[in-house]
Symmetry: C2
Subunit: 551 residues, 2 copies
């Protein structure tokens, strides 16, 4: 059992019944480009290593009193399913059966008051609490880190899965944190609305997770990031409830909503969020474009955004990502569909693929699309029509499945993302690529480094990097750490933000000092100490432990 009842593979991504195999042509491409390793599968659940639950009887009784005995579970399956998120190191460890850190119990509260009661019990009994929504963190955000605590629980919010309110005049919905993306959309769609929030983790990520991690979705250029959609919040902290009712705007002091948004469970547990919703789009068009170069493409997206002509989805792959996309799609895929276009316009060969998506009313979409298309064409784009758009839309949530298939074949695959100003985009892009190439090259596993822009702002854009390399068997985590460290150092020393939408979790915490400075960290720690005086909330996340800070 996990949030919304849909269980993920305990060792990988998504639906346990959905196969994820690499087609032979993709494997061939990988062999030629980066090399593949021995084929390896995850161990069986029965063989995963984990110790006995360490929860003291008194603590267990207190939790049972808080939520009912049936909602405190410590069976092997439930614990293993809450032992990790879905980062690369998580998958490496889980596939190998390393679940020693699994929580001692998983607690399923059914209401805000039950969350409060759990926090009180855990504070009294000195039990660490890891809030658990969809469990999709790729930065160690739900890693069970005990620090000095003798026991740790995962607080699974899956039972808090309601649409608690819908204000149609004000286009505002009150959603509970355990609702996952598709379930939230189903409830809203039935009333004629959408949240418009579609991260790649959408199929499993939760509303609480979106808010706690400052999530952005594939259509956030149009609908806005989650931090722009949050109007109000309810958050249970060990020190008391933070109740911030929905307001369109306010000048009543600092932005407390913005202090909770992105707090990643270290202050407390978000138990309700009031979010802007939009009328369900009546028309959606996704389409493809080709640019002669990355520079041409980024300039075109900048124009689109700064002229107020941006689409809802805007995505530009660099040359490497474009090449890989076409290769992985195979003969029956995108490449074949683009064939004649290629022939017609060979000047674009080796260029960059872009996707634009327009969502809205029957009247608005054609108008906006025509205007955006004009800007793109004037900026050098070649229209590929809707076929690449449809292909992208069909695969928009498939990436994480592919990762499992790559791991089966000993391929190191990882992503990270940042954002910066338009004027700094190229410099940051080159710095991160060089850092990854140099670091992994030096380990004799030269990578294929790819990048795309996927979120546009008037002042800048996001950069999303993916890399593939041959896995160093037996040194997977060292290899990962070297690459991650080099990339994060490059980002923070070249004007990028540490993360645009993956959040901080455990993996990025050492760079928070570089991101917000000593004084910024001190302010965050002061809030933490006030709201969570015993430090039970999600230890080891967001705020670097002493000595773990970089620069």
């Amino acid at each position: 059992m996990s949030a919304s009842g849909r269980e993920m593979k305990w060792w990988g991504w998504g639906d346990p019944d959905r196969p994820s195999e690499l087609p032979e042509h993709a494997l061939e491409f990988l062999r030629a480009e980066v090399g593949v390793g021995e084929e390896r599968r995850a161990v069986a659940l029965e063989d995963a290593e984990l110790g006995d639950p360490a929860l003291a009887a008194r603590a267990r009784d207190a939790l049972a009193a808080a939520v009912g005995a049936a909602n405190v579970r410590d069976d092997r399956r439930t614990r293993v399913l809450h032992a990790a998120g879905k980062s690369y190191p998580d998958l490496v460890r889980q596939r190998a059966g390393h679940c020693e850190k699994a929580p001692d119990a998983v607690v399923f509260p059914g209401s805000h008051d039950e969350v409060r009661a759990v926090l009180e019990a855990c504070a009294a009994e000195r039990v660490a609490v890891v809030p658990f929504g969809g469990g999709t963190s790729v930065v160690g955000g739900v890693e069970p880190i005990r620090e000095s605590f003798g026991a740790l629980i995962a607080l699974d919010l899956g039972r808090l899965d309601g649409l608690a309110g819908l204000d149609e005049d004000s286009l505002t919905a009150v959603l509970e944190p355990g609702l996952r993306g598709p379930e939230a959309e189903a409830l809203l769609n039935a009333r004629g609305y959408t949240l418009g929030h579609f991260p790649q983790s959408y199929e499993y990520a939760s509303i609480g997770g979106y808010v706690a991690t400052r999530s952005a979705g594939q259509a956030s250029t149009g609908y806005g990031r989650i931090d722009e959609l949050v109007l109000g919040l309810r958050c249970a902290t060990p020190a008391g409830d933070l109740d911030l009712p929905a307001q369109p705007a306010s000048a009543a002091g600092p932005g407390l909503r913005d202090l909770v948004v992105g707090s990643e469970g270290v202050f407390g547990v978000i138990t309700q969020a009031s979010l802007e919703v939009h009328p369900l789009p009546r028309r959606t068009v996704y389409e493809g474009w080709f640019f002669r170069s990355w520079a041409e493409g980024t300039q075109a997206l900048r124009s689109l955004e700064q002229l107020g002509a941006a689409p809802d989805v805007a995505r530009l792959s660099d040359e490497e990502e474009t090449r890989l996309s076409l290769a992985m799609a195979g003969r029956t895929g995108l490449k074949a569909r683009l064939g004649d276009v290629y022939l017609r316009a060979r000047r674009y060969a080796g260029g960059c693929l872009a996707i634009t998506g327009w969502e809205g009313t029957e009247e608005d979409v054609p108008v906006r699309r025509a205007r955006g298309g004009d800007v793109l064409r004037r900026a050098g784009a070649l229209s590929l029509g809707r076929s690449p758009g449809r292909a992208w839309a069909a695969q928009r949530y498939a990436g994480p499945y592919l990762r499992d298939a790559l791991l089966d074949h000993g391929v190191f695959v990882e992503t990270l993302e940042t954002a910066t100003s338009w004027s700094n985009l190229e410099r940051l892009y080159e710095a991160v690529r060089s850092a990854l190439r140099d670091t992994l090259g030096a380990r004799d596993t030269p990578p294929l480094v790819m990048c795309h822009v996927s979120h546009l702002y008037p002042s800048g854009a996001s950069l999303y990097f993916t890399w593939l390399a041959r896995q160093q068997a037996g040194e997977e985590l060292e290899q990962w750490r070297a690459a991650k460290t080099a990339a994060c150092d490059a980002i923070t020393t070249h004007g990028g933000t540490l993360t645009h939408h993956h959040a901080v979790g455990r993996d990025h915490a050492p760079w928070m000092r570089a991101e917000v400075g000593v004084t910024g960290l001190a302010a965050l720690r002061a809030v933490k100490d006030e709201l969570d005086p015993r430090g039970i909330m999600n230890p080891g996340k967001l705020l670097p432990a002493g000595g773990a800070e970089r620069s």
Copy 2:
């Protein structure tokens, strides 16, 4: 000397050389509506009461060492000019010559490092610091409150008045805090850009003040509130510098920029802000509309905003404000210009005046204006053409001058503002009007209460109330306090936010608990204690003192 060298009347608003007299027809209207009192003028500067500066020699020497002796001033004129902001109680006291609380000295730092040095000196010497930008606060934001400190300085940021950077690719400017609205616009306009931020206080308000108070301007429906324009910040706090470089977006933890925006000087001093700018509009059109009723008008504005067809300026006066505007404009003003329209369309008589403003390129403005006009007409609006728009634009910063003229004639005039969801707008509107009418009616000074909507959001809108009443001579402050208390109680118990853009200052601090709750206040106090451990920064503002909290 004050910020940017332009000095305001020490006892009122704006240019000391600009006369502000009420025309006879306006006075007649007021006599009939609310009654007027004895004509009274402000005392002469020489007659203002203030004590000798209380700054100890050692503290004065430390400040002189920090900024140079010439930049530590304690002459009568300078102290009186920094003795108050521009709230109604401020004006009542200043006009009567009550300047006893004037700062002991006014310090003019010339750089971030000098600001740091001043804060260090003040922390060491236990001197309270009131950051002072334009000095235009209408909520007691710059009131010199000593609390337990023996001395207090105003920290005038007027020398920090540069455009420190302009990134034309990223549409981002780095502005210093002492720049006032017109000077900031002049620097940006010369380069082809605008900040697009035009609060009624624009002629004197400063960039630092905008950011510290979460300001909104008359065109913020189009350009965004200041909190939406801030990309990066530099803030000197007694505990160290907060350096938050400009980023288009980030998921690296809670929003620290949003913690500084709206902090009203209680954590530290904003010494630089990176703000989004826009290309200078090539075309601007302001025009007028009439609605049959307030309800019809608010529905029309909601449609405009939710259909994505909102203008940059959107303002709807209720029946009372419309009636007053027409009466005050007189025979040669708006009323005359609307005369024939009235005759043509008497069904609109007694209705509500609205102004829409469109700013942008030659191509965009006609398209957006046509679309917005369609929405408004379908919603029942009668077009009045550009004449009322021009009249509004010509008078957009005149309100505060009028206030001085009203005070000359013994008229109590005050404003306050809030925001709420569209679904709650009518309820809140009625609650605040009733509170003001009941409270002032009970004092035998029945008010004329007016309201306008001036900022649109998908989920709601602002409400800006103005009231006029006969001043209770000798009890001006008690009368004010009764009205203010009733209105703020009504706002916080009827779903409004305490303030939409005036900020908290001293006057709203007692309601901060109602606004953000006990836990929210505790979080803010924790940040305050961390960044300003000796409590020297702007005492008595934003955070209520113990015992001063309401509900």
